[in-house]
């Protein structure tokens, strides 16, 4: 394949916010259209993404081993982890909803953590070829990111509705904070990853 001309090799910088393309010299370049700061690539994209990803990996462990909520009925508390909650749904013959929660709170975070790791490895080791497929992987990761918040919103609704003292109560557990942090950190990681790095390495 013949190498195509990119904006960077021709000395142009695309404004990250408004998309205006301009040619400028010197440091502290500002966009002529919207006045935003110009960077040829997201600054320190690799390092920022890697740092956020590493924090997300660390928090993923407490998010899965600690209880995400405790359901108390008639004074007897029953802590649920994320997987425990899915098992309870399957036992209660609510398989479609169990699948939905499985996808949103187990598969999507795993896909994001592993997918962003692969993208970083790709950039670091300059893997050749199939840049378009990798870009599509990046798009999927950026798109599905927010749907993992499902579990957090569900807990917020359950906690506020089921509040009958000793009779029945739902209490959110420590894993909720860790899980929410995983979702936010991976969203920021995806936002800081610059897909143009995948194309810059192609020869």
């Amino acid at each position: 394949m013949k190498a195509k001309k990119t904006a960077l090799t021709q000395g142009f910088i695309r404004c990250h916010d408004c998309g205006c393309l301009s040619k400028q010299a010197g440091k502290n370049r500002l966009c002529p259209l919207c006045g935003g700061r110009l960077h040829p690539r997201v600054p320190n994209s690799f390092q920022r993404t890697a740092a956020l990803l590493l924090s997300a990996f660390c928090l993923y462990i407490p998010a899965n081993i600690f209880p995400i909520m405790t359901i108390t009925s008639l004074g007897v508390g029953e802590p649920h982890t994320i997987i425990g909650g899915i098992m309870a749904l399957i036992n209660g013959n609510m398989v479609p909803i169990a699948l939905l929660v499985l996808v949103a709170s187990i598969l999507v975070p795993l896909l994001k953590l592993l997918g962003i790791s692969l993208l970083l490895l790709n950039v670091h080791y300059r893997w050749q070829g199939r840049a378009k497929k990798w870009t599509i992987l990046y798009r999927i990761i950026a798109f599905v990111g927010r749907w993992s918040m499902l579990d957090i919103f569900m807990i917020s609704i359950l906690v506020s509705l089921v509040d009958m003292g000793d009779v029945a109560q739902v209490i959110a557990g420590p894993a909720a904070t860790a899980f929410a942090a995983v979702v936010v950190l991976t969203m920021f990681a995806a936002k800081n990853f610059d897909p143009r790095l995948l194309w810059d390495n192609q020869r």
Binding site: G36, S156, L158, L161
Partner: protein, 203 residues
């Protein structure tokens, strides 16, 4: 500092001759397939109208009860706000703030910013802050998670329906309507057109 008539793909940095897609067309990047522009019919007018509709709907959706839970003769109503308060009372400040921002503040800001920008463009009024508003709007977009919240409501209701009686409030209907309006708002807003208009108003 020179501006150019070229454009560049935001995801692979390929230097492109700008096309002039008309309504119904989709402009894709020839190298990575990124959707560059998708012109919408009467983008500014529709964004203006839909953001007014959204601003009206956001009040009942926030203030009226979404779902009520009947238990032992008591009815407990849940609103967007009561979920935040319940999480706060259980000392999960981080999660409470995250839910507050992504389900109440960001959707509201999103609608207000769309309204401000489209109103200025519709009446051809230049404003120094237009570029700032547009930039905030683009960054806030993915953090307003009403559709994910809706899924959370559904999962929570299915979980509760096995053991208790649920009552759907008027707020839920307003919430669903708001969801549809914000979805249409996002798809009617043509960013390329909006930035071009903002640039023209500056001159």
């Amino acid at each position: 500092m020179t501006q150019t008539h070229f454009t560049a793909c935001p995801e692979c940095d390929l230097l492109l001759n700008p096309g002039a897609p008309v309504v119904g067309d989709k402009a894709h990047c020839p190298r990575c397939g990124y959707l560059l522009q998708r012109p919408r019919k009467q983008s500014i007018e529709r964004t203006f109208a839909l953001s007014i509709a959204g601003l009206i709907l956001i009040f009942p959706a926030n203030l009226m009860p979404l779902v009520g839970l009947k238990m032992l003769g008591n009815t407990k109503d849940g609103t967007l706000w009561s979920g935040v308060v319940a999480l706060f009372e259980e000392q999960l400040w981080g999660v409470a703030i995250l839910v507050f921002l992504s389900s109440i503040i960001f959707p509201l800001l999103n609608i207000i910013l769309s309204l401000l920008i489209s109103a200025h463009l519709y009446f051809n009024k230049p404003n120094h802050y237009l570029a700032h508003w547009m930039r905030w709007l683009q960054h806030l977009d993915e953090w307003a998670m009403l559709e994910v919240y809706m899924l959370g409501i559904i999962v929570a209701c299915v979980k509760l329906s096995a053991t208790s009686e649920l009552k759907f409030g008027f707020g839920l209907y307003a919430f669903v309507a708001l969801l549809i309006v914000t979805g249409m708002l996002t798809s009617s807003l043509d960013k390329v057109l909006f930035w071009r208009k903002i640039g023209q108003l500056r001159k």
